[in-house]
């Protein structure tokens, strides 16, 4: 029902391009891991290597300690939830969910029972006789999940499963996905390019870029203490300020050389790392906060994005005395 996954020095080349470059990753049994990165970063390729839809050029994939080399998808203890759901449109939901069991020779009565139980798990009890086209996108997603879980895989692979849903439904499905994973205890490896989705569901986020793992850790750590500039900007908006010889453009700072990274919400009037007086260039109300572009008076060419409290109403031209609450310096 659950197993650990070891990715050992895996590389994948298509022609002359290195899609994955010596990637190693340990995933614990029962962990919910999210592979996060821009398109083309190799995250889907890595998922396909775990699922057996491709074989690595070099390196090994082990699931529950067993080397998977040469095993076709049907012989691996994994199943995949595809982005477009990949439901069988000519079958009822029950037959869809029971398909894997049918292939394993389970009797019609038994597999029907199991399918109904899986449909209940995903909140679709009593709809086993419907067909996929009668369902909404979110419901199809749930059927695909039930179908993949029905064969009790050790590892469930999810290939941008929420990518086709609109924002509201996506947030709702994230909560459900997380709670289903808690209940079944199966290892989930989930691919996405949406960093909010990753933070919402992951036990651990693995940030990938250009075929390599940039960073990994719990959401809070990856967001607040990114190890690289790429991670810092991919996880959310960030102001990058060059520091050289103890000097930032807006004045001296007691910080090492490198790039000072400030999140817009970390800049306030009371922040201890003083930036000094800044002129407001533009400000717009954004709901939970007011988003402003400001330029320090001492460095008028530097543009900072700042999130001010909901109640703030800065007019363009107004001067605010700002500082940073939290910050990080990354070597460039």
């Amino acid at each position: 029902m659950t197993a650990d996954v070891q990715i050992q020095a895996v590389s994948q080349r298509f022609g002359t391009t290195n899609v994955l470059d010596n990637v190693s990753l340990e995933i614990a049994a029962g962990e919910f891991v999210v592979l996060l990165g821009p398109s083309g970063c190799g995250k889907t390729t890595l998922l396909n290597l775990i699922g057996g839809f491709a074989e690595p050029t070099a390196g090994a994939v082990r699931i529950g300690g067993r080397d998977m080399a040469g095993l076709a998808p049907q012989h691996r203890p994994t199943t995949t939830v595809f982005q477009d759901y990949a439901l069988f449109p000519h079958m009822t939901l029950r037959d869809n969910v029971a398909f894997g069991l049918r292939m394993r020779g389970v009797s019609k009565a038994k597999r029907g029972e199991k399918a109904d139980a899986m449909l209940s798990l995903v909140g679709l009890e009593g709809r086993g006789d419907r067909r996929p086209h009668e369902l909404s996108g979110g419901q199809r997603q749930r059927v695909a999940l039930a179908r993949a879980l029905a064969v009790e895989p050790d590892v469930l692979l999810l290939d941008e499963p929420l990518g086709a849903l609109d924002l509201k439904l996506r947030r709702q499905m994230q909560d459900e996905l997380k709670s289903i994973q808690r209940r079944v205890g199966t290892t989930f490896v989930h691919v996405t390019h949406d960093q909010e989705e990753a933070m919402a569901i992951a036990d651990r986020i693995v940030v990938m870029n250009a075929g390599r793992i940039e960073d990994h850790g719990p959401p809070r750590e990856v967001y607040l203490h990114p190890k690289t500039l790429f991670t810092a900007s991919f996880m959310g908006e960030v102001n990058r300020i060059p520091i050289a010889g103890g000097h930032a453009p807006f004045g001296p700072v007691a910080l090492p050389d490198g790039t000072l990274c400030l999140r817009p919400e970390a800049i306030t009037e009371s922040g201890p790392l003083r930036i000094g007086p800044c002129r407001v260039l533009e400000a717009a109300f954004f709901g939970a906060h007011v988003r402003a572009h400001v330029a320090p008076l001492t460095a008028p060419d530097l543009r900072l994005v700042v999130h001010l409290p909901q109640s703030a109403m800065p007019a363009p031209g107004q001067v605010l005395d700002l500082g940073a609450e939290t910050w990080g310096v990354l070597s460039t």
């Binding site: 839809f53 076709a72 049907q74 199943t79 995949t80 595809f82 069988f88 000519h90 894997g100 292939m103």
Partner: protein, 255 residues
């Protein structure tokens, strides 16, 4: 602008359909020649045609050849499209070449080539040889239609079936074919239509038992008559029926 557009479209349709309209109209001519003046509506030419043993035999042959050759072309084309989808050639230009190349072979060339082939292998010309010709012509069509219908969704469903433990024949029988039900029907109906109307292959590759277009050609040797028009109208009627069936059973249900 809209009025002009409608007018132009109407004219284009008249241009395309006028020959058919004339053909059908003069098949009801109550006289010996399909020329004005129109002497009144009569079904006697249809009676004559439907009572003609040779014509009715040819009609039966045409049906047989069309249905059997289309079924064979359909199965072969489905397997070929599935095979191509699996091997996934590098480069879309090469892929398109593979799909388009078989269509370069025209009816006339196939007829000539097969005539050579049967000649030198000593196979006697018959309805079977004409049927083989129609398979050669319709296979590329079925292949292209079915391959085009295999979108990413189809491929992902097949991947999912394999992932869930299905063997290749189970993927074909339980997932691929049922998912392609509509394009399979479309390809079949189109093949039947093309085979039904086809003349040059049927003419060159049959001997004693002939199909309807060949029989019409024989009738034309003694000139146009309301009888030739009546047969032509029957051929057209069948084509139209096939296309209407296609529309009703395939496209309607596809929604």
């Amino acid at each position: 602008m809209r009025v002009l557009s409608w007018l132009y479209l109407a004219l284009a349709y008249v241009f395309v359909f006028l020959p058919v309209a004339v053909l059908v109209a003069f098949s009801f001519q109550d006289g010996r020649l399909p020329v004005p003046p129109f002497k009144g509506v009569s079904f006697r030419w249809y009676e004559k045609v439907l009572g003609d043993g040779d014509l009715m035999a040819a009609l039966g042959h045409s049906f047989l050849v069309a249905v059997v050759s289309s079924l064979i072309a359909l199965v072969l084309g489905f397997l070929a499209a599935h095979a191509l989808a699996r091997v996934a050639l590098p480069g879309s230009a090469l892929m398109r070449g593979v799909l388009i190349a078989p269509m370069t072979v025209s009816y006339l060339i196939v007829a000539l080539g097969l005539l050579n082939l049967f000649n030198l292998t000593g196979v006697r010309l018959s309805l079977w040889t004409a049927g083989i010709g129609h398979v050669v012509i319709n296979l590329p069509l079925c292949f292209a239609i079915l391959y085009a219908a295999m979108g990413d969704h189809q491929k992902n469903a097949e991947r999912a079936a394999r992932d869930l433990g299905a063997a290749e024949w189970q993927v074909l029988a339980l997932v691929s074919a049922p998912m392609l039900a509509m394009p399979l029907a479309a390809a079949f109906f189109l093949s039947v239509t093309f085979s039904w109307d086809e003349f040059i292959i049927a003419f060159l590759l049959t001997r004693f038992d002939v199909t309807l277009p060949v029989e019409i050609w024989s009738m034309l040797k003694s000139g146009l008559s309301p009888a030739t028009n009546a047969v032509g109208s029957l051929v057209f009627l069948v084509s139209v029926t096939l296309v209407i069936l296609l529309e009703i059973f395939v496209f309607r249900r596809a929604k």
